[in-house]
C-alpha cells in the first residue's frame, strides 16, 4: 500500500513540484496518474522511488516511512518496484536477456531462476525470440516492451510506468496497454500518461494533478482535466 500524506515538494528555485498532496493506493490497484506537463506526475514517481525527498509530509510504502529509510533499505524498497521509464533506460552494451536479467542479478537469484524469470517476462511481452539481440536492433515499441519485461521481472510488487506510450504509435500503444491489462490484479500498477484514449477506454482509477495539486481522485474515471 502506498500512502501520500500532505506531501509537498519544493524545488531549489522556489517552485512547487507537488503541494499538499494526499492519496492512498491499495495493493493490486490500477491507477492512472494524469495531468498536463509540469503537473507533478514525474515528481510523484520520483518521490515513490525516493529519488526526491519531500519538503513536507510523509510517504509510507508497505508500512515503511520513506523519510527514515537508510540507503540499504531504499535499495530493498526499490527491488519491490518495477519502473518503466519514459526514455526506456535500456543499456545498449548489454543484450536483451542481460538487460532484463539485471533485476534478478540485483536480487541475487541463481542463473537458473534468472533464466526462468527472464523467459517468463519475455513471453508476456511477446519477445521470446529477441533475447540475444542488442537494443540497437529493436524498434521503439519493442524497447518499451523490454523495459516492461525488466520492470516485472524478479518478484515486483509495484509496477510504475512514466509515460510508457509517449513515443509510440497507436497500434504499439495498445499492444503495450494489453500487457499492463494482463498484469492487472497481480501487481499494483501506476501509469503516468497524457494519453486520453487509453485512460478513457480502460476506466480505471484516475488521479488528476494540476500545478502540483491533486484536483481529482476518481474510481472508473476518465481523462478529465
Amino acid at each position: 500500500m502506498i500512502i501520500f500524506d500532505k506531501v509537498s515538494k519544493k524545488f531549489p528555485l522556489g517552485n512547487y513540484g507537488l503541494e499538499d498532496v494526499s492519496f492512498e493506493i491499495d495493493d493490486n490497484d490500477f491507477v492512472f496518474l494524469v495531468g498536463p506537463s509540469g503537473a507533478g506526475k514525474t515528481t510523484v514517481i520520483k518521490l515513490i522511488l525516493k529519488e526526491y525527498q519531500p519538503t513536507s509530509g510523509s510517504i509510507i510504502i508497505d508500512n515503511e516511512d520513506l523519510l527514515s529509510l537508510s540507503f540499504n533499505k531504499i535499495s530493498l524498497l526499490r527491488q519491490k518496484i518495477g519502473v518503466v521509464f519514459q526514455d526506456f533506460k535500456i543499456l545498449n552494451d548489454k543484450n536483451i536477456f542481460e538487460n532484463i536479467a539485471l533485476t534478478c542479478k540485483i536480487q541475487n537469484l541463481s542463473f537458473k531462476e534468472t533464466k526462468e524469470k527472464v523467459r517468463e517476462a519475455l513471453s508476456l511481452v511477446n519477445l521470446e525470440d529477441k533475447e540475444e539481440l542488442f537494443p540497437i536492433q529493436l524498434s521503439a515499441g519493442e524497447l518499451q516492451r523490454v523495459a516492461i519485461a525488466r520492470a516485472i521481472t524478479g518478484n515486483k510488487k509495484y509496477l510504475i510506468a512514466d509515460e510508457p506510450t509517449g513515443n509510440l504509435d497507436p497500434k504499439t500503444t495498445w499492444e503495450i496497454m494489453k500487457i499492463f491489462k494482463k498484469l492487472e490484479g497481480k501487481k499494483t500498477i501506476i501509469i503516468a500518461t497524457h494519453n486520453s484514449d487509453i485512460v478513457n477506454s480502460l476506466k480505471k482509477r484516475v488521479l488528476v494533478l494540476k500545478n502540483g495539486k491533486l484536483i481529482k481522485d476518481k474510481r472508473k474515471g476518465g481523462y478529465d482535466l
Binding site: 529519488e51 535499495s75 526499490r78 527491488q79 533506460k89 536480487q107
Partner: protein, 297 residues
Amino acid sequence: MKEILLSIKRTPYQSLASFLVLFFTVFLSMILFISLTFLYGLLNYLETKPQVTVYFKSNTPENNIFKIRDELSQSGKILSIKYISQKEAFKIYQEANKDNPLLLEMVSADIFPPSLEIYAKKPIFLPEIAEYLKKQGDVDEVQYQKDLVDQLLSLTNFIRKGSLIFFIYLLTMSILVLTTTTLFKIALKKDEIELLKLLGASKSFIRRPYIKEGLFMGFITSLFSFLIIVGLFFYFLPFLKEYFIDVPRLYLNLGMINFNIWPLNIYFFAFVYLLSLIFSCTITTISSYLATNKYLK
C-alpha cells in the same frame, strides 16, 4: 571475467595507465623489500659470528678472565660468551693445519693467547663492549668488525627510512592515479550506475565490478612484477653466488620462525609473490572503493 575483459577493452588507455602506474609501484616496492630483506639477513648473519674477540696476555690468570666474562654477562647486552683457553686455541690451530705438518712443528700451546668470543644482543652494543674491554689491564688485543657492522647498520637504517618515504610516495601516487582512472571508467558508465540504483542495487553490488576489475589488475601486475624480479635474480645469480661465497645461509627473523632467503629457494619467492599480490590488490581495492564511493553518496 568476461565483463572485466570487456571493461578493459572498452577503456584501453585508462587500463594501460592503471597497469603501468601499479606495475611501477609494485615492482619498485618489491625491489626495496628484497633489498631490505637481504640487508637484514646480512645483519642477522653477522650476529651469528663472534662479534668481538678479546685476546688476553699469555700469563693472565684464568680468574681474571672469568671475572671480566661474568661482568659482561651481567651487563644485559651479551647474548653469549665463549672462553677459549690456550690449550683449546692450540687444538683449533692443530685441527686447522692438520694437513700441513710444517706449521705444527715448533708450536706449543704457550704461544696462543687465551680469548673470549663475545656475541652481543644487538650490533649497536659492540662499540661499548669493545671500549670496556680495552680498559681492562690484562687485555692484549680487541678485535671486532666495527666498520662493517657500522656501515651495514647505517645502510640498513638509511634504506629503511628512505624506503618508507619512497613507499608512501608510491602508494599515494598510485592510489590517486588509479582512483582517477576508475573515476573515468565510472563516468562512462554513469547512466548504468544511475539505473542500477533505481533498480534497487546495493552499494556493494554497484562496487563489485570495479573491485573485481581492480583485483584482476592487481593480480596481473603482481605476476608481471614477480616474473621480472625472478628474471633479474637469475640474471644476477652468478654475481650473487660470488658475493655470498662465504655465507652459507641468510635468514630473516620473523618472530617465531627464521625465514631462509639465501640460498634462493621457492619459499622465499612464494613469499615475495604473495606479498606483492596482497600489496597490489590492496591498492586497487582502496582506489576502486574511493572512486565508487564518490558516485554512491
